[in-house]
Symmetry: C5
């Protein structure tokens, strides 16, 4: 019945499995194409202060024309299913084989690599799932060059870049006046800000658990706490190196990033630190919850035992008295009298009431005024 | 009945919720105005060695006149409810859009940012609540320029700056002889010192819990320990980056801060370290309390079980003997004699006394001389 | 019956034991030959862009001819059983006595040592075992010189270098165009990538345990968790210094490693960091599992106690009533009537039903709809 | 009865309370005089190679004469109860207002401050109390100038400087030949060495607890462990910053400290590290004791439960048999025979003996050869 | 009976006690002679490439002749019982008073001190005891000068330097060709390698405990785990600063240590790191064992409770039925028939069998096929 207690979200499983795709001894630069990876789509947005063109591109070599203009070209590659197209993109952008490997053989650890005329940023994007358990996570790689930005996403279905696309299309803010470095910042910022809604979910789940763990701890609570801890561990693995990467970006002396954009990156870095802070806080809360859970179980055990003990204390003497008069001695006080039985029963009732009063006065039953009440709290 | 075990203080909730206000992909510099934020008030204090003027300002542009004089102008903005006024303040003080965003889109992580002719300090102010549970917390941002200091507070109702205002008005200490940098120090120092009364509350609550957890651990104790741990985690999140920020301020080479004021800031830094120290100490104590709580529960369990066991040991043999003479054999020793019953009862009493003596001598009942006593300690 | 609960894999035991082979006060450079070590085999692969020769060598001095040519010579020594041959290899390659000691007296901690004309890299190779419990682990030492690479493996039976040998033989990738430094990188990379399949095993074992620990925690589960923790500790000891060694290699200014190869080493370093990350994640998960296990035991205890308590509550009153009518009073209500017994039994049944209903309504039996069900989940 | 479980030592309480004396917004340099602080006493020791004068001084200005001579002047201020005198001392020694505040508004965190012609050292002195529980702790501040040393102690009653005073008076060692910097070292060294007797007490208390926690864990043991952990936390707060301060002193380039004295300070630093080491070791031991305590409780619980179970197993069958023959069937085997009762009793005894033998053989009662023995160990 | 559960080894106790020998305020350079310290012995080994002389020296001044020659002089002082001789040694070697104090007032923390013409190394030597519990530990101090090495040991009885003495006497290895710095290295290396046999003991003890803690956890197991944790803490305190000291030695620019010897010291450093690694690994294993122990206790508790519960479930209904027919109603079904009793007994047997079958089928008794079996595993 409870066969599948830890039902992992599909994404999470896939992440685990893909972790192991590095084949020992493979030629560096080998591309591992996942059989289930979606086909590769290319969307190009070319813009400057005056215009903004969006174009779906099927032949990678077509990008070259845009790359040679002064306008900013954002080539957005979505889906890692087509080895041939990916390799041709590598050729068009003159990527080092190791860069292409990092971009395609997901997951890589977030980092930046500086190849003089190109800056490579490996980043991880998270999004809440609809059911508010777990989170969707995918790798986004940036290759920033002079006047162009290549981004590679694992999945074409969903990303958090739409607001940026809108800002380009509608010429909102200063994005159209800036270069490719500002675009890279804008997208990185969108990725970091995308952690906040996910964290909001965890905040709510932890708040719910805080109540559940005290009021009504069950086996399912245990499983929820463990799952949250595991997922926060994954979130941490996603944000921690990202923070370092952004910091390296700010410190990096590469001329591809203008001084002015570094000020914006500092802001982005602050948000990454804030995310990390919250992840650590949630992790500590979740780990505290485990302690609370264990204590709550002990607490409940104590109450069950108290009920058992109180009951035993009441019935053991009564049963003993009954046993006493069940003995087959011929001469026992009162057995022959008509009121003997009733006297005996009355004595028993008196003893029971005395014991109950005693328990009540000594505080055993205090916090749980009626047994019904205690039980009502203890429903599993 | 115990529906709302973790009743968060309103402030704390709001902090949690606001944590997520960064909208992914939003234009940097976008101001998020909270619907419930109080309207924006501006109070200007302009002073030099000779005079000190306090003025409520409704039109931000009116500040300009004061800013151009040599006297120190402290513009105190209270409440973040009015987008228009806030933006006009940004214009008057020539704030970078990111600075305005940091100042308005609370909460930001405490930090300093150096914009050559302006030093931006994001800080967090805490105050004890009346009911001595939790604490009130709000962001205070400083923009320090030549001859002026802009402070932005979330709430107009309450702050810990009154003693500083008094010192300016009454020309106490050296504050009127110093520049805007000294004013910034004085306010920061007031903020850091404001942590001490809050910590005092926690010191007392932990002291109370230390007694409660040994003498009378209940489910409510558990909840209190957890709540304290969570709140201390928040305090830590507030003070930790603040310490770094003050340190950065001391090290910063910006000329806006005079050498002499840095000596004062070093003192302020020492206090911040002291606060951090105490927060960490309390955190360790609170975490130790959780262990004590669990042990105290086990202890109590042991005592309940001992009571049950002692009772069972006493009544099991007696009931057995009664059962023995309840058997329907025709020939049983003494059943026909008039003194048989009394002999049997006497034997039972003797056995019970022997067992009790045995328990007492062997130490089971030693520490709890009478059962009443044990129970009295165990009231829940 | 359960004599050998912790059945260590032979390799693991040997690792433990060999840890202690440093004899206090021994002359530095003393070679400790393990009695059970396999005999020493030497395989030489000599290649340049045009040719690739593989040769089994029995007389170490025969290598000298190859070392003097411009082509890259990879001398692969397998097995540490023959002191004489090992010492002659030391002479042929002009190894410092301490280097020879490090290479032969396994296990050493992974590290690099820079001897100007030679770079010594001590590394640890892991491989999954067939039975998917534990892992095979052996030391691989590299001595990188101008145009040659000496590798020394503990065991001749198995290594993860075959793909590299194939690439050399079949001239795949750029390996034949590069020098000995690239070869060293390729082998190091194969070793680091060899950690991933081992980690995959642990990922699966932890996933299995996650289910087992909630659904059906037994004594064996405890042992499994502990074993995984211990083995992950060993994995960590293997990868942690390796990461530092590769980092030192990248930073090292020795001219034996070309600038271009350092870019590849950076990639290898990233993988080492990824391995470390995963080991740490697994360690945290495994340590979380221990908490879950303890909680699950408490949970089960609570359910056992509840069953005992419910049963006692039902039978204690019934037995008491039976005892009541077992008393030998002459006048008891209904004892003489023919329907008395049945009335009494009916009353008992009614009480039992009421109690059961009461327990059910108050939620004690809710989550475990039938007792059968509860027990079915609790099979040990 | 156990109202005051955590009876804090008065000193400790006062430390807690004083922690909060920083009043938010107070003018920097404000002196907080504790109402209960003892009156201020000044003792001056003036010495050079030839003479050593000790003088009680009531008018601070009288020190000036001594300060202007070449001989070393040690002005020892004891007790912080007299605001006027303290302020006049500040004037005599030309102390920065913040220095006077640090010196008077105890407790400050141990630290050093470098004011070019003065070195300020804030330090914390601990001493064992007579009752060997807790420790006495007070702040000692040093102001080191050219040819003079000002020390300020909280309490006049007791300090650990007497051996140093004796060495000055009796011209023992090299102290009379050295300057004020050596005197400062000698006093600091006395303070650090003063931690050792306190630690010795903790070593003994932990040793006692180690035995108690296994042999006889009671509620009081729990409280003792917690108290030790809390006090060690305070000790750590006292020694940790002190170590950093001494290190800063060694590194500081101020000319007030001669090269030769730095060698002595290095020794003092080593002792501080040793103290810290021991505090950390004791903290780990104390934290391990908590685990042991919890395990010991579980152990005891197991033994109580075993006793209950064994007893129940023995009496349940016997009582059942008695109940069997208590049934009112007319035809039961042996009820009419004279030896029936005795046969039945014999059978019962046989069953009881068999069960006891069975328990003994199967090892349940092995480690606790007689029940008396078990109970004897378990006295609470 | 179990009075002395934690029987500390004499050495360990003495270490604890000696920790406190720093008397507050004592003159720096004061020698504390332990009353029980063995008398001081001096052994001189003087060697160069051609000869090696061993001489027992009773008058310290006699060393001077050897110190002035070019040959290497190793003066080995054993035992700290003779203040006069120790002070004369200090004079002969021109030791700084603080050095003599460090060397004599054991225990000091391992460290190096650089006095230009002398290098002082404080080190700690450990050796396994015969009974394989705990370890013998003593301080060894080195004073390395030009052409001489002074070593000071606490105890004359036993050290791990014999192999080195043998190498000198028999001219094995390169030791006779090297200077005093190489001798210092050789001895340090012997000390570090001396940790390995001690660690081997701990490896075995932990392995034994791993089995014991699952199969048969008793109170003694708890004590063993705690003792191992405490002793590993001491080992860690011994090796941690030693590693730093050796590292400082390698980095130190003092000319007393030749470049060539630094290569050897690097090897020694690697071994120290390996020792530290293993100590940390064992500490984590030991701390994991505590968790396992607690879980094993809970597990056992569950099984005891299950046995109690099963037994109760079986006998409660049977006893109830017996009670039913023990009631004194005149009309009860079957009481008058001759087969009534047997029918009733048969019903009881049937119920008991059904319950047993039910428990078995539902898995409660599965893992413990016979009760005998369960008990057999649970012997305490």
């Amino acid at each position: 019945m409870i066969k599948k207690l830890f039902q992992r979200k599909p994404q999470v499983i896939s992440q685990y499995q893909e972790d192991f795709y590095h084949q020992p001894g493979a030629i560096p630069g080998t591309l591992n194409i996942d059989r289930d990876a979606p086909p590769t789509k290319i969307v190009l947005i070319d813009y400057n202060q005056n215009k903004a063109i969006t174009e779906n591109i099927s032949i990678p070599e077509n990008c070259t024309a845009y790359l040679n203009t002064e306008s900013v070209s954002w080539v957005d590659v979505q889906g890692l299913g087509d080895r041939d197209i990916l390799q041709r993109i590598g050729t068009v952008f003159q990527l080092h084989p190791l860069v292409l490997e990092d971009v395609v053989n997901v997951p890589e650890r977030p980092k930046i690599e500086d190849y003089e005329d190109q800056l490579v940023i490996i980043s991880r994007m998270v999004m809440p799932t609809e059911k508010a358990d777990g989170f969707h996570s995918e790798q986004v790689s940036f290759v920033l060059g002079k006047n162009y930005l290549l981004t590679v996403q694992e999945q074409p279905t969903f990303d958090c870049f739409d607001p940026v696309r809108l800002r380009i299309r509608n010429n909102k803010g200063i994005i159209r006046k800036q270069g490719a470095d500002y675009l890279a910042y804008a997208l990185l910022d969108a990725i970091i800000d995308g952690f906040f809604p996910v964290l909001e979910d965890y905040g709510e789940r932890i708040e719910d658990l805080e109540e559940e763990v005290i009021v009504n701890p069950t086996r399912k609570t245990l499983q929820k706490i463990y799952t949250i801890r595991r997922e926060l561990l994954q979130l941490r693995r996603a944000i921690w190196p990202q923070r370092s990467a952004i910091n390296a970006l700010i410190k990096d002396s590469n001329e591809l990033i203008a001084e002015e954009v570094r000020i914006y990156l500092r802001d982005c870095y602050d948000h990454a630190v804030q995310v990390m802070d919250m992840v650590e806080t949630y992790r500590e809360l979740a780990s505290g919850l485990m302690d609370v859970y264990l204590s709550a179980l002990s607490n409940r055990m104590n109450e069950i035992m108290k009920l058992l003990t109180v009951f035993s204390w009441i019935f053991l003497p009564l049963t003993f008295i009954a046993g006493l008069y069940g003995m087959n001695f011929e001469y026992m006080p009162g057995v022959k009298t008509p009121w003997g039985f009733w006297l005996c029963v009355a004595a028993m009732v008196a003893i029971a009431i005395c014991l109950l009063l005693f328990f009540r006065l000594s505080g055993w039953l205090e916090s749980s005024s009626t047994i019904k009440d205690v039980l009502g709290e203890q429903k599993f």
